[in-house]
């Protein structure tokens, strides 16, 4: 295939600048010594990073987000592995409907999911509880996990598991020794994508938190809509660095494009 010409290179450069600009200004602003948002910053100062330490609200919110991400990604992965084995294992009556149901949270507008969870949890008196949040997040992230695990299940050779069974291995052993090792890249990729999706989720979460279970995106959102000080930029910068680090690790292990496309593209 022919390589790109001058126009294509210029186009890609401008596009890359467009994609990076908002992130660059957020990181730039966070180093300002001033008390307002300025870019480029008039000097380099860690003032607003120190300010994070004086605002336990943000640290508490980050801890809630981490716990929420780990709990919901783990539960979602645990229920998606058997579901993916069922759906990817062959045709059965109701299979398409089942798959459509599990992928449906992608189709329903998130704001609709948010109010539906709010109505449901407040009727049960569970609104604002940590475990209420966890199970709402599980529903939102199941489609992401299911797609990745399903992609690796579909690539399985069923004759290997059949051979193990015919040699007398119990089905749990077959799963642990044959199936799981074969689908582990999809499982790990799914878990990471689910964790990040949960960690970043705002639209649903904003309806179902209370002050004690406020997550980092919700805290950032309410701070941004009320005041504009560089604190939101320094917190965002820490979040960006955390995500970039996670992303580089995932790219090494699994491939970022594979993770996000959800199919083998290498």
């Amino acid at each position: 295939m022919r390589r790109n010409g001058v126009f294509a290179k210029l186009f890609s450069l401008v596009f890359a600048l467009f994609m990076l600009a908002p992130l660059v200004v957020v990181v730039g602003v966070s180093f300002t010594p001033e008390g307002f948002l300025e870019f480029p910053p008039s000097g380099i100062s860690l003032r607003w990073f120190r300010a994070i330490l004086d605002n336990p609200d943000f640290i508490d919110a980050a801890i809630v987000s981490l716990q929420l991400g780990v709990a919901s990604a783990t539960i979602a992965t645990a229920i998606c592995i058997p579901a993916a084995l069922a759906i990817g294992g062959g045709r059965f009556p109701g299979r398409d409907a089942l798959q459509a149901l599990f992928l449906s949270p992608l189709t329903v507008p998130t704001v609709v999911l948010g109010i539906a969870f709010l109505r449901f949890l407040s009727t049960l008196g569970l609104n604002g509880t940590f475990w209420g949040l966890v199970f709402c997040h599980v529903v939102i992230i199941v489609p992401f996990v299911l797609r990745l695990v399903l992609a690796s299940v579909v690539g399985l050779d069923p004759s290997i598991a059949r051979a193990a069974t015919s040699l007398g291995a119990p089905s749990l052993t077959v799963f642990r020794r044959i199936t799981l090792p074969a689908i582990i890249p999809g499982v790990v990729g799914g878990w990471v994508l689910a964790f990040i999706t949960s960690f970043d989720e705002l639209t649903v979460t904003v309806f179902i938190v209370n002050p004690a279970t406020t997550t980092l995106p919700v805290k950032l959102f309410s701070h941004i809509t009320q005041t504009t000080d560089p604190l939101v930029a320094s917190v965002s910068t820490v979040a960006i660095l955390f995500t970039v680090a996670l992303m580089l690790v995932v790219d090494r292990i699994y491939g970022l494009d594979r993770l996000l496309i959800g199919e083998g593209s290498h």
Binding site: P22, F102, P109, T225, A233
Partner: protein, 285 residues
């Protein structure tokens, strides 16, 4: 045999139970809520009527909000298709090293919170923001161009949020194409622009169409970007629902608005799929 038939259902049971309890039940409860009534003293009343829908459908204020929301989503989709399609094609033709770098640049932002990305746009677009300052310093403008609290600003930021989905979809379609078709066109003397228009574009079309659907439905229900960049001044459907639920506390009306959004997004998706299947029946056969 019987055990074999039950096996997929047993394996799916945990996820199925969770979805029946945590997704189907809440959505049904929301639909029921939208038929209830509300007054400011007594709260939600378990009546059953269509007055919330009549309120929304009979008020030009809500027509304006729905119209603005779908217009923003439509323009965002068009820009994503116009920019994302060539970018996906260029991505395919890059050297492997540059391609890996560009993939990080294109897809990386997907993994960063929309709140953070929108904060970046708020800093860029403000009246004393980066773009206006730069234009003033270059003496191109005297007075700042108003970009915060405008639909245009929201579209710009939404394009940034949504375009990775378009590029992913087009890219997936282009990877299925046969590179020999391009080579054949080139060897027959076609210019690059002609190759793109006559050979690449038709093969990218399924990706553009599915990407458009994703971008449109996500844009129509986006919350963080219009809430931060539009505030109370440029309201869209999702921020209106938010206000009804958390400020006005008129849940039944908020639920009715949300259900109308859900139904119209689903209707547009079904109509779009029908249209695509009819128009491109030959491509998918």
């Amino acid at each position: 045999m019987n055990q074999d038939r039950a096996r997929p259902w047993l394996l799916s049971a945990p996820a199925l139970v969770l979805f029946l309890v945590m997704l189907v039940t809440p959505l049904v409860m929301t639909a029921v809520l939208s038929f209830n009534s509300f007054d400011f003293y007594g709260g939600i009343k378990p009546t059953f009527g269509l007055e919330n829908y009549a309120d929304v459908l009979g008020d030009s204020y809500f027509y304006e909000i729905f119209g603005r929301t779908f217009l923003i989503a439509l323009v965002t989709t068009l820009i994503c298709a116009l920019v994302g399609t060539p970018q996906a094609y260029f991505l395919l033709r890059m050297r492997p090293l540059w391609r890996s770098v560009m993939i990080l640049v294109v897809l990386g932002p997907l993994l960063i919170s929309v709140v953070v990305r929108t904060l970046g746009w708020a800093i860029l677009l403000g009246n004393n923001g980066v773009i206006n300052d730069a234009l003033k310093n270059l003496a191109l403008i005297d007075r700042p161009i108003k970009m915060m609290y405008t639909s245009g600003g929201i579209v710009l930021a939404l394009v940034h949020v949504m375009i990775p989905f378009m590029i992913l979809a087009v890219w997936a379609a282009l990877q299925r194409q046969d590179p020999a078709t391009e080579k054949a066109a080139e060897s027959l003397g076609a210019r690059p622009a002609t190759v793109f228009r006559r050979i690449v574009l038709p093969q990218a079309m399924p990706g553009i169409l599915s990407g458009s659907l994703i971008v449109f439905s996500l844009s129509a229900s986006a919350f963080a970007t219009p809430a931060i960049l539009g505030g109370r001044r440029v309201k869209v459907v999702s921020t209106t629902v938010y206000d009804e639920f958390l400020n006005t506390l008129n849940w039944p009306l908020g639920a009715a608005i949300a259900i109308i959004l859900l139904v119209s997004v689903l209707a547009i998706m079904v109509a779009w799929n029908r249209l695509v299947e009819k128009r491109f029946a030959g491509v998918f056969e």
